[in-house]
Symmetry: C2
Subunit: 416 residues, 2 copies
């Protein structure tokens, strides 16, 4: 039985917030200052030493694959063998961009030349706007696929890849997905590895951006896609990516590709055209801060202690304001950086605009869909990590009030 | 009147070197360890502070254009306005690569869509192998243009660009050119800015890699190509690049694009697709180490004090061994990283191979030409900065002996 609410009261509270002239930003999954402080050592590292484990001078040119100690760190992060890892600079997005760019220029192993202009890319929705943006920028056609609570809808994916050789790739954020928080089930991982594809050069872009970003001690497991693809005889099908962006410092971290020998060779041959080597000193800094898997785990627990209360505060406020009204649903993620909220159909854009009039900046409605178009206009990505707790509480309350007020406009409420 | 030499004596000395089992590397323009020590402060910077001049937290995401203090530093380096500068990460080569890549994907301002597969790129020769490599990788056709002592042969360039709209770009290293050491004269700079081009979207790739890399106090002047192109009404024609790779630390420096407003807007729109921002902490480090133009100048003088004796030692040895024999000529550069050596036609490949049998690694003969093919097989790029002085002297002597012995094989010598 639905709860009831006083719309007049909500409007009055909303107006009171408006008079405060707030400026609250929940647009992006940015760590807050306290999180960045956890990596303060990086600001004076590596100190005097500039030598890598292999004795090389990290200050000079070279070392395209990355230092062995940095490869090991990223391998720990991604739960893969260090031998599978190539280390890059501060943005795994760049590695993904370059992957698509090179595929469009020259093709990938197993293919017959450049990907065509009419390349189609599968986009589980809601998903990460920057994935969609880079593929569209390079001329690919974006094809939406529904997300389920287990990962992308495998029946849809199978049907799309089975007959059309122009379907060349799928974007996946397999753990604590952006924005749904879903971690792919073993069945989905196996299904992606084993499905027949018309394209001989199909690629799973496995953006494991939240690989170790647990909010709770019950870490949600994720199957090993590289192993699954190897076992399925399609080792080259997957390119896995990750970074320390939300482990250490977002602008100054290190990132990695993990892939099959053929894919690594291809990647490095391309990379050699655009750089003589990565920033190895920054790799050394990271290896010093996080010398082993235990250090990573401890470090990520400290992150969780800072941001878990923020996720829980937003959830509590949404629950108090919206629980039982039937006008919104939202996720309670076990990791990652987002709360995924659905209004009733046709309300998201107006809710975001209304919250904006109170000084609350949210990710634009639609951003989580290809071309910025949410066909049901209901999805809102909430990023609770960056604002201080008091601002976050205000922002969450304003968001809830905006949902109520838009729902009232639409006569979606049983109101007092 | 030609000098004479004892080939038997040269052969005996060469064999003596062979017995030493040397391993001497003159392949690449790499700074030596003493040069890297000049930037030792970077290894513990920025210390506790993570704030930029504008108050922003450099540790977090964002700031695609770069910190204002880093833009000012690169502007000083490139002798341009800070407003024209966008700061990148550790490799200006990557900025050039991305420029060509985006041009081939989507085109550049002033053009009518993507550059065609048959894009032709002018390559002054001898030149920088990585320039040629990246353009060829992306499918461009490389077209050689002769270098003169003033810069590329302007008559050749003018003829090539005047009628063929597929000629889209020219690579230039305008100061202390790699490998010739030539600095472009004012007439060449003006000529490049003012020449009519069939392509409306022609680009001068102005790789000012050695902008402040003087070996002597009489700094060779270079005209301002951005101003010249503006004055000629073709402000978008030039994209200038530079970096701190041979100012601070080669693998861990910062780089820049300097360009017109339309080119910057284009570049940043593309950049936003592949990254959320550069490594701003590394920009802050650099701004701390080199706070103003005077600091840059003092820093580069210290570099010159370390490497000038190396250039002069190689020159002295080549002069002592080869002077007056008529079998080799070489440059005496006033800056940059290379001595450019020409043997008699048809000898370079064999000289490099022979020196290699004594453990001296040289840049492969031909590398300074498109597709690695020197049509006269005479050009050898000598990189004297990296080896310690005693090894450098040995390597130079071995190189000279190899030139003598190959010349003797070819009956090019008046020998005793």
């Amino acid at each position: 039985m639905p709860a009831t609410i006083s719309v007049a009261d909500a409007a009055a509270r909303f107006e009171a917030f408006q008079r405060l002239g707030l400026n609250l930003d929940m647009t992006r999954g940015k760590p807050c200052a306290e999180q960045l402080d956890l990596s303060g050592e990086l600001l004076s590292a590596p100190g005097a030493a500039g030598r890598a484990n292999d004795g090389s001078d990290t200050r000079n040119y070279g070392g395209l694959e990355g230092l062995s100690e940095a490869r090991r760190l990223l391998a720990d992060l991604l739960s893969v063998d260090a031998a599978a890892v190539v280390v890059g600079d501060n943005a795994s997005l760049s590695l993904m961009y370059d992957t698509f760019s090179e595929a469009m220029h020259r093709g990938v192993p197993g293919g017959e030349g450049p990907w065509p202009r009419a390349t189609r890319v599968l986009c589980p929705v809601p998903g990460y706007d920057r994935h969609f943006g880079l593929a569209a920028h390079l001329g690919c056609e974006l094809v939406s696929v529904e997300m389920t609570t287990e990962g992308p809808d495998l029946d849809q994916v199978r049907a799309l890849v089975a007959d059309d050789p122009a379907v060349k790739a799928i974007f996946c954020v397999p753990r604590y997905s952006n924005p749904t928080g879903v971690t792919y089930s073993d069945e989905i991982v196996e299904g992606l590895a084993n499905m027949p594809t018309a394209a001989t050069d199909f690629r799973i872009v496995w953006d494991n951006a939240y690989a170790v970003h647990h909010l709770y001690d019950d870490e949600v497991p994720l199957a090993d896609i590289l192993a699954a693809c190897r076992a399925a005889g399609v080792a080259d099908r997957v390119l896995a990516f990750g970074s320390t962006s939300k482990v250490t410092l977002p602008g100054s971290g290190i990132c990695a590709l993990a892939a099959s020998p053929a894919n690594r060779e291809w990647f490095l041959a391309n990379r050699a055209m655009r750089t003589i080597g990565p920033d190895k000193i920054n790799q050394l800094r990271h290896a010093q801060l996080l010398p082993d898997a235990g250090a990573v785990r401890a470090h990520m627990r400290r992150h969780a202690e800072i941001i878990r209360p923020k996720f829980e505060a937003v959830d509590a406020i949404l629950d108090a304001e919206l629980g039982g009204l039937g006008i919104a649903t939202w996720s309670r993620p076990r990791g990652g950086y987002f709360i995924d909220l659905d209004t009733r159909d046709g309300c998201a854009r107006d809710v975001v605009a209304l919250a904006g009039r109170c000084g609350v900046k949210l990710t634009p409605a639609g951003a989580t869909f290809p071309y910025g178009q949410d066909p049901r206009d209901r999805n809102i990505r909430v990023a609770p990590t960056f604002p201080p707790m008091d601002e976050l509480r205000q922002a969450a309350e304003i968001l809830a009030l905006a949902i109520v007020l838009i729902a009232a406009e639409r006569d979606l409420l049983e109101s007092l």
